[in-house]
Each structure stands twice: as C-alpha cells, then as structure tokens.
C-alpha cells in the first residue's frame, strides 16, 4: 500500500516536472469520508471506484472513519482544523446539526448551481429527498443510503402458536393478541425492538401522522418544541411498559443491541431497520417474513420515515473554501449516484431503499422482486410510498438530535424498569429534550 503510494507520488512528481501538462492530465483528488463498516463499506467503495473509472478528471478517495457518530465528530474536528473532507457521509440524526452549520457546508442545491450540473429531484422518493431538504424545498444534502423500519417475524413460531404465518396482524391490537398466543406456546420472547426511539417514537409518530415536534417536526425553525407528550404516544409507551412486565415484550437495549435476538430465534417479532434483512437472510435458521409497521385501530396508517445517511459537501475550514475543481467533481459524482442503474444496483446489493423511482423501476426490470429469496423486499418501499407525505411524515429536523435520542432512551428505560410511570417518562423526555433544543438554538443563533 505505502510503497504503491510512494511510487505513485514519485511518478506524479516526474510528470509534473516534465512540462507536458496536456498529456499528463492531473486528476483532482476529492476526499470522501464514510461511516459504513464491512461489507457495506466495500460496496460503497465499489460504487466510488465505478465513478472514478467512468471519467478521467476526478478521483474520489474514500476512507472509512468509524461509525456514523464517530465520522460526524471526526469531520467536525477536521473542519475546525481546516482539513475537512470534501464529502462526508452523515447519518440522518446529524441532519439538523449539518443544516445549521452555516459556512461549514456547501448545500447541494448551491453546489449544483455553482457547477451547472443538474439532478432531477422529482425522480427521488419524496420521503427520501424531503428528509434532506430545507423547509423551502431546496436540497441541502445528497440522499444516498436510506432505510426505513419494518417488522420481521418468525413464521415457524407463528405456526407453533397456531397463528397464520402468512398473515401478519396489521394493528397493535392484533399484535397483542398474537403475542399472548406466542407466549403461551413457548419460552421465546414474543416481541423485541431495535433502535427503540427510532422505531417506537419517531416511526410511530409518522405512521400515525402525529407530530413529534412543533413547526412541522422542526423543519420550520430552531424554536421548535417537542410534542411527544400526547395521548397516542402515552398509550403506546404504557402498553410497552405493561407488555414488558407481562413478558410479552423484551427490551433488547439501546441502538441496535436488540437485533441479534431475532436471527438467533430468541424473539418472534422484531421491529428494526429494513437494512437488517441481509443479516436475517444469512443467519436465520427458520422461516421468516416481513411486514409493515403496525398502527392503532381507528387510525389510517401513513408513510414511515427514513433512517440511514446522506452525503454533505463541506468547506475545508472556517476560512478555507472548497476549490471549484473539487466542487465540479463532487457534483458529477452526485449526478452519477442518481443514475437508475447505479441507484438500483445499490438497492439490490445492499437492501437499502432505492432512492429514485427510476432506480426502483430498474430493479423491477431485472426481475429482482420475483426471485424467491427476495420475497417481501418491496415492503419497505411500499410502506414509504403509502399515503401522501404530510408535515408529520416527511422527516425530523431537530438540532442536537443525537443527544435527544439518548435522553429518550434513558427515560424509556426508567419507565420499563418501573422507576417512573410512562406519563412521567414523557414529561421528562419533553422537558429535557426541549432544553437541548434551546441550547442548540442559542448556539446557532448567530
């Protein structure tokens, strides 16, 4: 590796000294930091390589910087030191922070205007592009890997409990009934969830078309306040707490700590990211199916929201703007990612959502969904496209959201432990969360 780099630089030096710029066309290097571990990281780097090979002027240099939060912290620290990467992959929770980053970033719409490159945003799934657009519809970052939350369930366990394995209940009431039968049938925990606040609060609010925060979930401005202390959320948290007590629901820990229980056959129903599919496919030694997220009776289910990450363009540092050549290269790279075959292939390879409609069509045209091993792979897309996107279902735009999620998890855990009632938990979540929002507002006013 090192030797090769050395030789390459030596060669580059030689070329630079040979006064033949026309022949030795210099490729502009563009630093790109991402937060995808293997095998997804390798697949992302393959997409980058494909772009590099498709033209001769730019070389995107991908480098893995740890998990999403680590990548975010690293990019911010690098910016403060004047060495930020040109493009950074940022998870959806960091969107609010990035959007208010002022001259640290170049918004994607600005990048396209600067370089004269066009991307057809109408081709993007509304729920995907809306999450990364400003309130006035201007695209702030380039959507890339997006997932949403769905339900996985163990068909064998359903059969053993005398339930129809091909008919997953649509409502929480139906799920409760199924859980009681599952519990009677065996020692397996009926229900567990991963990303507890994402699946049980954020997705839950979107599915039921209720606001998570005022001002259109924070899209309308920094003076947004949490509105999670509502009747439906209370009903759900109360149910989860009671189910936990009755042994119907098993809390599996923060973030994705709960996930392994499903492929291991330790829980019958799991709600987590659609991106978990590949692992279930590889590890589950039983029949399984996927279904949309449930809703409470008497409600009309709306679309779910996304998780995942988008690509942000950064300036080098507070007083070091990104060069024009780099900007052009980045814009070309983004346009490349929006191509139907690129978007479609990424979706089929990884299990992430196809971010564009043409990408979805491309995947359909290859016969992907008709293959037996891909049954149900379109469920997350259908769930994303269900109903018309409203203020409550286009996404969440909160500053300091990473911290707010942590607070929610803490208070949720205290409720499950019985240290406080679900009502007290919601009050504490709101008070503490609002404090984070106010801090963020103060720090980003100027």
């Amino acid at each position: 590796m090192h030797r090769r780099t050395l030789m390459a630089s030596a060669a580059a030096l030689g070329l630079a000294g040979s006064f033949r710029p026309a022949l030795a066309q210099q490729r502009t290097e563009i630093q790109f930091w991402h937060g995808l571990s293997q095998p997804l990281g390798g697949m992302l780097e393959a997409v980058v390589k494909e772009f590099n090979d498709s033209q001769t002027r730019y070389t995107i240099v991908p480098s893995y910087r740890g998990s999403y939060p680590e990548t975010m912290v690293a990019a911010i620290a690098a910016f403060r030191a004047g060495q930020a990467p040109a493009v950074v992959q940022m998870f959806e929770v960091g969107t609010g922070t990035m959007m208010n980053a002022g001259r640290a970033i170049i918004p994607t719409y600005q990048l396209l205007a600067n370089t004269g490159v066009t991307i057809n945003w109408d081709d993007f799934l509304p729920g995907v592009r809306g999450y990364y657009a400003a309130a006035d519809g201007k695209q702030m970052s380039m959507p890339f890997n997006s997932s949403t939350a769905i339900t996985y369930y163990n068909k064998d366990a359903f059969r053993a409990a005398g339930l129809n394995p091909d008919q997953f209940p649509e409502t929480w009431g139906g799920i409760e009934e199924a859980m009681r039968k599952l519990k009677a049938a065996g020692p397996m925990a009926p229900l567990s969830v991963a990303w507890p606040t994402w699946t049980q609060m954020e997705q839950f609010s979107a599915i039921h078309d209720i606001p998570l925060a005022t001002l259109g979930n924070g899209f309308g401005g920094l003076n947004t306040e949490l509105s999670i202390n509502n009747e439906l959320m209370l009903r759900h948290l109360t149910n989860l707490t009671n189910w936990q007590k009755d042994g119907l629901f098993k809390y599996g820990g923060r973030n994705n700590a709960g996930e392994p229980a499903f492929p291991a056959g330790e829980c019958a129903i799991m709600q987590t990211s659609s991106g978990f599919r590949a692992r279930v496919q590889r590890e589950a030694r039983f029949g399984w199916g996927v279904a949309m997220l449930p809703f409470y009776e008497g409600r009309r289910p709306a679309n779910s929201i996304i998780g995942g990450a988008s690509f942000w363009v950064m300036n080098n540092g507070p007083n070091a703007p990104r060069s024009e050549a780099e900007q052009k290269g980045i814009a070309d790279f983004f346009a490349f990612l929006a191509k139907p075959d690129v978007a479609g292939k990424w979706h089929m390879d990884t299990g992430y959502l196809p971010i564009t409609k043409t990408g979805f069509e491309y995947a359909k045209s290859t016969g992907f969904y008709r293959k037996p091993e891909n049954v149900g792979a379109e469920v997350p897309i259908e769930q994303m496209l269900r109903g018309a996107t409203t203020e409550n279902t286009r996404g969440i735009r909160l500053g300091g959201f990473v911290q707010i999620r942590d607070i929610w998890q803490e208070e949720m855990e205290k409720s499950f432990q019985g240290q406080q009632t679900p009502q007290q938990a919601l009050v504490a979540m709101t008070t503490r969360g609002n404090q984070v929002l106010r801090n963020f507002e103060r720090a980003n006013r100027g």
């Binding site: 403060r80 291991a264 330790e266 507070p318 911290q403 803490e410």
Partner: protein, 293 residues
C-alpha cells in the same frame, strides 16, 4: 534526618528540572488551561460562533437534577471500586505471601489482568454476564434470578464496579505484595513470641506497616475510578440503563464528544478536576497524618 544537595548557581538545577516542567506544561497546564477557558464559552459544533457566557455553563450544570444523580453514581462507583479493589488485593497478597506450593505461579496469574485493556476487560465481562449470550447471565436466569443489567440499574452498577475493580486488583496486588515482603520478619516473630495470633498480628503489625503502601494505592485507585474507567463503562453499559452507570467522566464524554456541547463538557471537566484536586488534598492532609513511614 534530611540530606540536602546544594547546587552552585541556578542554571543547572533549572536545566535538570526543565524536561519534567515541559511535560507538565504541555500535558497538564496547557490542556487544563484550555478547559478552563472553554468552560466560559458557548460554541456551535463547528466553531463558527463563540460567545463568552461567564458562569452560565456552570449554572446550567448545577441546575440540572440529573447532574446530582451522576455525582451520586460517581461516589458509589468510585468508593466501591477503590474499596473492593484494595480489599481483594490485600487479601490475595497476604495469601500469596505465605509459604505455599506454586506461589510464583499464583503471583504471575494474579498480575495478568493488569495487562488487559479496559475495553477488552469489559467485553470479557459482557460475555460472561450478558443475559442472553453470557455464560453466567444465562445461568442466573436459569436459576430464576431475573438478571438483566440492561434494564436493572443496580445490576448494571454492580457489573461495572466488579469489572472495573477486577482490573485494578492486579496493580494493587503487586504493591501490597512488595509491601508485605519488606516487613521485617523479626517484628513478626517477636509478636508471635509474645503470643499474638495471626489475625492479631495482621491488624497490629502488618496492617500499620502496610499503611504507606495502602495510602498511596488509595489515591491511585480513586484517580483510576474517576478517570480510567471510561472504557469499561462505555463497552459494558454506555452509562445506562437510564443514567444508572453514568459517572462524571462518562458524562464529560457524552456531552463533549457525542453531543458536541463543548462549553458544558469543559465546565464539567473543570468541576471534575476540582473534585479530584480536593480529594487528593484531603487525603494528604488528614489521612497521611495517620500513616507512619
């Protein structure tokens, strides 16, 4: 009796002190100064705007009821870690100091855990006590003990204390063993001839003579529990469930690195620094008086 060496002139002594002074300045005074400066600022994550807010960060911290909870966690955690690590190490050192078969092997084995990185030690305990995949975790649940440290705050605290203390036992063990071996045999023999039984010999002869070692270790262990246990907590519980295992140092990390709230994080580390300086001063002022070198 004190020995005094008098240097001629001032250049040489300062030159000899210079390396140490430089290290202290670069690795302590400079970062500590930065932290104190940062604790009076409110910044956005990217460092684009920066306001001087006086003591607002401190006021916010002390107005936060959760912060008091974190302080209490730290008291429980550090006290338990220091006490149990010292007690177990002393017990083991006394046993290993006896003339037993294979004493060297025991000694080597007991020193091993010190070489294990905190995060790895934590993962080791995780694999033993995870309620679903851990050997003992499953065993406990199988026996009807509802063991789930991911939801039970007391169990989580117990687990991080045990994991953190376990790592420190080796270090304490080495020092206690060395301390025991330097106790003159004649004193013990004299006590034995006077008719003192082993327990009495331990409390009246061995323990006081070990006091200097014990005192040194107490300071080191408190500092360890305050600062070096971050990896253990991060890998095991991430401060949860709720905030049951969030200690002061873990909260500094959460607010600074994860939440990018630099002002508050800096203020918290200044508070932490003040606490440790105060504790060390108290220890030297009051406990050291009872220690006879």
């Amino acid at each position: 009796m004190r020995k005094k060496v008098i240097f001629k002139g001032v250049a040489l002594p300062y030159l000899l002190l210079l390396p140490q002074l430089l290290i202290t300045a670069v690795f302590f005074f400079w970062p500590a100064g930065q932290a104190i400066y940062g604790s009076f600022l409110r910044e956005d994550a990217f460092g684009l705007s920066r306001d001087f807010v006086g003591f607002a960060n401190f006021a916010e911290i002390f107005a936060d009821p959760n912060y008091l909870g974190v302080v209490w966690n730290t008291v429980v955690f550090s006290g338990s870690v220091a006490f149990s690590a010292l007690a177990v190490a002393l017990f083991l050192a006394v046993q290993a100091d006896k003339a037993i078969r294979g004493a060297d092997a025991y000694k080597t084995l007991l020193i091993w855990p010190y070489a294990v990185a905190p995060a790895i030690a934590a993962v080791l305990w995780l694999f033993m006590f995870h309620p679903q995949i851990g050997l003992f975790g499953r065993l406990l649940n199988g026996m009807g003990v509802p063991w789930d440290y991911k939801l039970n705050g007391n169990q989580a605290m117990l687990l991080v204390i045990v994991a953190a203390a376990w790592k420190q036992v080796s270090y304490n063990f080495i020092f206690f063993l060395a301390g025991l071996q330097s106790i003159p045999r004649s004193v013990l023999e004299a006590a034995a001839i006077d008719g003192a039984r082993p327990t009495r010999r331990f409390w009246t002869v061995v323990f006081p003579l070990l006091a200097p070692t014990g005192f040194f270790l107490l300071v080191v262990n408190i500092v360890y529990a305050f600062f070096d246990t971050f990896g253990t907590i991060h890998a095991l519980t991430q401060g949860g469930p709720g905030q049951a295992t969030t200690t002061l140092i873990y909260r500094v990390y959460l607010d600074g690195v994860q939440n990018l709230n630099f002002g508050s994080s800096a203020a918290q580390s200044v508070i932490l620094m003040a606490i440790v300086i105060a504790l060390t001063a108290i220890q030297f002022r009051f406990i050291e008086r009872k220690v006879h070198y």
